[in-house]
């Protein structure tokens, strides 16, 4: 066939894809593009030129080992119903648009991690794309008649122009919307269509070879069995070869989840998670069909074709030998479709990752903040288009320089080994809460380094310095450092060797570094959302750990930059309606921050969205307490109670110090207003009561018994007002550090006894027993009057909440090296877990107070806290104590604090 005819056919074929994509885009909700079959067929983007040509090549040389690449996905598919469903749900909720987004989001929306995953994918996929170009170029030269023609540079190499045409197609249909989480129906429709084409064509050539060139499978078997190496081709090999099988199955198992193009079609483009139910049996069936004739074509090639030809192209060479032009062209087009769909989806996925996880978060973001919505949309689209072209061109040059030496099968496996480095963080991230961003980063980097050393270095050295035999020679004189046979395992293939060591070290580093240091609150919050996904709504809406300040107007301005005015207003209106928030609300809460982050994630990626929102909100990182509360809510964590409780106590104390520092700052400005509001409310209640009672008392007919009751109420409310005002002033004084504490070394025993004396009468009246385990001669510096106030307060609280007759209160002293610890515990009704973190807040009222109002002012514990902190000590609730309430405070032994 002439070069020009083949070229023309290629162009016509691409034009047809354009038209098909156009119609699919026109009716994005049509029945033809939205069904489980299209979904399953789009998953078949897994079958590339590697499958189409490479499998036959492998089958002809090493028998049925090519099957391992398809066994992984087939084994993994029953798991899809569990794992993929979870991944799809999480991705939909967070508007995740790539595997890089998914992994970086899981580890706290980490910018560096997103970039690292993207780079890993680039390393894996660019050679993979170049493999596809290699297949196109080599098959093109096989079928075109001008075999003598040798290209002199890329400008007159037809592959280069084919690559450019594909880039135009992707750039056109892949970047129509800036929101990458939007579905691209046109592209998916063409991919599904191509999946049918390549399967049908491959089956056709299989049938042609088996039943037309030969007399069926038996005939082929008989003829092939006469070849010398036949027994080797049909056996599985020994135990050692079994390891190679195992590792290759593992590789393909990971790849079906992690390859950017698979993630894209399976997760990002998924319309309905119910499609999975059909896909889990249809897709394995597709793979099975695709592989039925591989072995027969391979045998036929071995029998009919000379040894010198490249066995990868048997399916093309067999009809070519018969001069059957129709079949030749059909096989070529089939291979070409496999190539196109792979390149299209891969570059689409990669360009999104490059723009959202590298370019925008690192540097481009400032420009976007300044631009208007139209400009931004244009910039983002152009950025992605540029990325698509660069990716394809890059793959082309990789192909020109490196691909010649390698078979389709080995390039594919290298890609799989690299992409598998994401497996520990992806799979463990879905099931294991402790995984941290740091662990992930180190794991991936270590894994990549091992892959580079064991697999890439030998190849690169072979190409760059053919004279230096790195693979055979021993590095630094140590034979166990030999790249392809690390630690002397000489029966593994280079890929299996690289996989084994990179995966082991990657996983070890990931787990090790994750266990060494806990992630920050953001990481742990996302961990909880990803792992405990059933509890997602709860965590997302209610307990999402975000404390800070932001204004709706700022967020609105930010959203408009990317979504435009109209869309922003509509989104916010829906949001307000859903959560019952007034449209005039000025302050943004955690839910709005979350919601906006999700909206922006689609356009610019999660890391950038986080950075942008952080620029308009002031986040207060005091949320460890809340994180712990979330953790405590989940049953599993409760099982680990002992260790966790210990840790949580330490953390609570730490969080306390943080909180203290923050409260100090916040108190200066806005908090003050809020405080005044609450004070006004608290003052108004007794005033209302007094006013109402005095009005009622104007009635002369009131019975005198009732009259006395009303007068008593007035008197009691007046006392309440008095205490309240006194406490407010006291608290203000303590907060502004206006009061000098008279701190001197004193005996704690004496002061505690004084406090006991003060509550003696009430205790006796209520018949509550108070035990104090004395410790003679313990001296600490403190202000006696103030400490008396603290002790009296804690004791009165205990008295208030214990039952008469059976109530017992105990006071313990623990004399440490640096601090003295005083515990006051009772056997009353205890403090509900959800209140424990707040009881030291001003005016905090427990929701579980039944219907009785608290008798105090709501400030007692807040004052206690201020006083203890004035001593550089701390006060907290002992969460481990379940028989009642135990409040503990610590005073440092030296005046400078602990």
């Amino acid at each position: 066939m002439s070069n020009y005819l083949v070229g023309l056919i290629i162009v016509m074929y691409l034009a047809m894809l354009f038209v098909l994509a156009y119609f699919a885009e026109k009716k994005p909700r049509g029945k033809w593009t939205n069904n489980p079959y299209v979904y399953t067929l789009s998953l078949a983007v897994y079958c590339t030129a590697w499958t189409y040509y490479g499998s036959v090549g492998i089958a002809s040389r090493s028998g049925i080992s090519f099957l391992a690449i398809y066994l992984g996905p087939v084994i993994s598919f029953p798991l899809w119903i569990v794992v993929m469903k979870k991944v799809i749900r999480i991705s939909k909720q967070h508007k995740i648009s790539s595997i890089a987004d998914f992994i970086s989001m899981r580890y706290g929306n980490n910018r560096f991690l997103g970039a690292l995953v993207t780079v890993t994918c680039l390393l894996a996929i660019i050679p993979y794309i170049s493999l596809q170009l290699k297949a196109v170029s080599e098959t093109f030269s096989l079928i075109s008649s001008e075999n003598s023609y040798v290209s002199k540079g890329f400008l007159d190499d037809s592959t280069f122009y084919i690559a450019l045409l594909i880039a135009v197609f992707v750039a056109f249909y892949g970047t129509r919307s800036t929101d990458t989480s939007q579905h691209k129906k046109g592209i998916i429709a063409t991919v599904a269509f191509e999946s049918i084409l390549k399967l049908v064509f491959f089956l056709a050539i299989g049938i042609y070879v088996t039943f037309y060139l030969f007399d069926g499978t038996t005939d082929l078997y008989n003829q092939a069995s006469m070849k010398a190496n036949f027994s080797q081709l049909t056996s599985l090999g020994g135990l050692e070869n079994g390891f190679n099988w195992l590792f290759t199955i593992c590789l393909s198992f990971f790849a079906i989840f992690l390859l950017p193009r698979q993630f894209h079609v399976a997760v990002v483009e998924n319309d309905n998670e119910n499609y999975l139910k059909k896909a889990i049996w249809l897709f394995p069936l597709y793979l099975l069909l695709f592989n039925v004739f591989v072995i027969f074509i391979a045998w036929a090639g071995n029998i009919r074709l000379p040894e010198a030809v490249n066995p990868d192209y048997y399916s093309l060479l067999l009809p070519l030998q018969q001069n059957n032009q129709g079949f030749v062209l059909m096989v070529f087009i089939g291979g070409f479709t496999a190539v196109i769909s792979m390149i299209v989806v891969s570059t689409l996925a990669l360009s999104t990752m490059v723009s959202n996880n590298i370019v925008i978060p690192y540097g481009f973001i400032k420009k976007l903040v300044e631009g208007n919505p139209e400009e931004n949309a244009k910039r983002i689209k152009n950025l992605r288009r540029l990325a698509i072209f660069l990716l394809i061109i890059f793959a082309y040059f990789f192909y020109v320089n490196f691909s010649a030496q390698l078979s389709l099968f080995s390039i594919g496996l290298i890609s799989f080994v690299i992409i598998a480095q994401l497996a520990p963080s992806f799979f463990l991230g879905l099931t294991w809460r402790r995984g941290t961003a740091r662990g992930t980063e180190i794991g991936i980097l270590v894994g990549l380094a091992v892959v580079f050393y064991t697999l890439l270095l030998p190849i690169i050295s072979q190409v760059m310095m053919p004279n230096v035999k790195l693979v055979e020679e021993v590095l630094f004189g140590y034979s166990w450092l030999k790249p392809a046979q690390l630690f002397g395992l000489d029966y593994l293939t280079p890929e299996s060797n690289a996989f084994l060591w990179s995966m082991s070290l990657n996983t070890l580093s990931f787990v090790g570094f994750s266990l060494r240091a806990k992630g920050n609150y953001r990481e742990r919050n996302y961990a909880e959302m990803f792992v405990n996904h059933a509890n997602y709504e709860n965590l997302q809406e209610g307990a999402f750990v975000w404390k800070g300040e932001a204004y709706v107007a700022d967020i609105k301005r930010l959203l408009s930059r990317f979504l435009g005015e109209a869309r922003t207003n509509r989104a916010l209106r829906i949001f307000n309606k859903k959560h019952n928030i007034s449209d005039t609300e000025e302050r943004a809460d955690a839910r709005l921050i979350n919601f906006s982050e999700k909206l922006l994630t689609g356009s610019i990626g999660s890391a950038s969205a986080k950075i942008l929102l952080a620029s308009v909100s002031k986040e207060t990182p005091i949320s460890l307490v809340e994180v712990l509360n979330i953790l405590e809510e989940s049953k599993e964590t409760k099982a680990n109670n002992k260790l966790l409780l210990e840790k949580s106590e330490q953390l609570t104390a730490m969080a306390h110090q943080l909180k203290e520092a923050n409260e100090e700052l916040l108190f200066q400005d806005r908090q003050k207003d809020e405080f005044l509001d609450t004070v006004a409310h608290e003052l108004k209640t007794p005033i209302t009561s007094i006013k109402a009672a005095s009005e009622v008392l104007e009635d002369d007919d009131m019975p005198s018994e009732l009259r006395r009751q009303f007068l008593e109420n007035i008197s009691r409310d007046t006392d309440r007002l008095d205490t309240l005002i006194h406490n407010i002033l006291d608290l203000e004084k303590l907060s502004d550090n206006k009061t000098e504490l008279d701190i001197k070394k004193r005996k704690i025993n004496k002061t505690i006894k004084k406090a006991l004396k003060g509550v003696e009468q009430i205790a006796a009246k209520k018949q509550v027993a108070i035990h104090f385990k004395e410790k003679e001669n313990v001296e600490v510096p403190f202000d006696e009057d103030r400490l008396l106030q603290v002790l009296t307060n804690l004791l009165s609280n205990s008295l208030k909440f214990t039952e008469p007759h059976i109530g017992t209160i105990k006071i313990y002293l623990e004399d440490g090296d640096k601090a003295l610890r005083v515990s006051v515990e009772d056997n009353g009704r205890g403090i509900p877990v959800e209140d424990q973190a707040y009881i030291f807040d001003k005016f905090y009222q427990s929701k579980n107070q039944n219907t009785k109002k608290p008798q105090g002012s709501g400030l007692g514990l807040a004052i206690c806290k201020k006083i203890v902190e004035g001593h550089k000590g701390s006060i907290w609730v002992d969460k481990g104590f379940k028989k009642g309430a135990r409040l503990v405070f610590e005073l440092p032994k030296s005046r400078n604090g602990t």
Binding site: S582, H681, K684, E695, T851
Partner: protein, 120 residues
Amino acid sequence: MKKILIVDDEPNIVMSLEYAFKKKDFEVFIARDGTEALEIAEREIPDLILLDVMMPQMDGYETLKKIRESENLDHTKVVFLSAKSKEKDIEKGLKMGADGYMTKPFSIKKIISDVEEMIT
């Protein structure tokens, strides 16, 4: 006899209101929180509910929402009683569907005259 339901968690305030309304020949019911209020309202179908906003467990806003959802209470008027006296708060209360809004501290005489005007 007109029925009125007073919902407030401050017993002293409730006591005065109860006395004053009984004196004016109202049948008075008392609830100390939102849950109890709904229970009594469904049973007694009062003509008017005086509803405090800040209460433990179910607050006034939530309670009002539930009242408005109930078909039995279609004709029941609801008046908020609240120490929140900013214009924003009052607007919010009325927007939620309250028929009136009284700020604390209030005058009992004024409440009675307003209530009488509303349900006669």
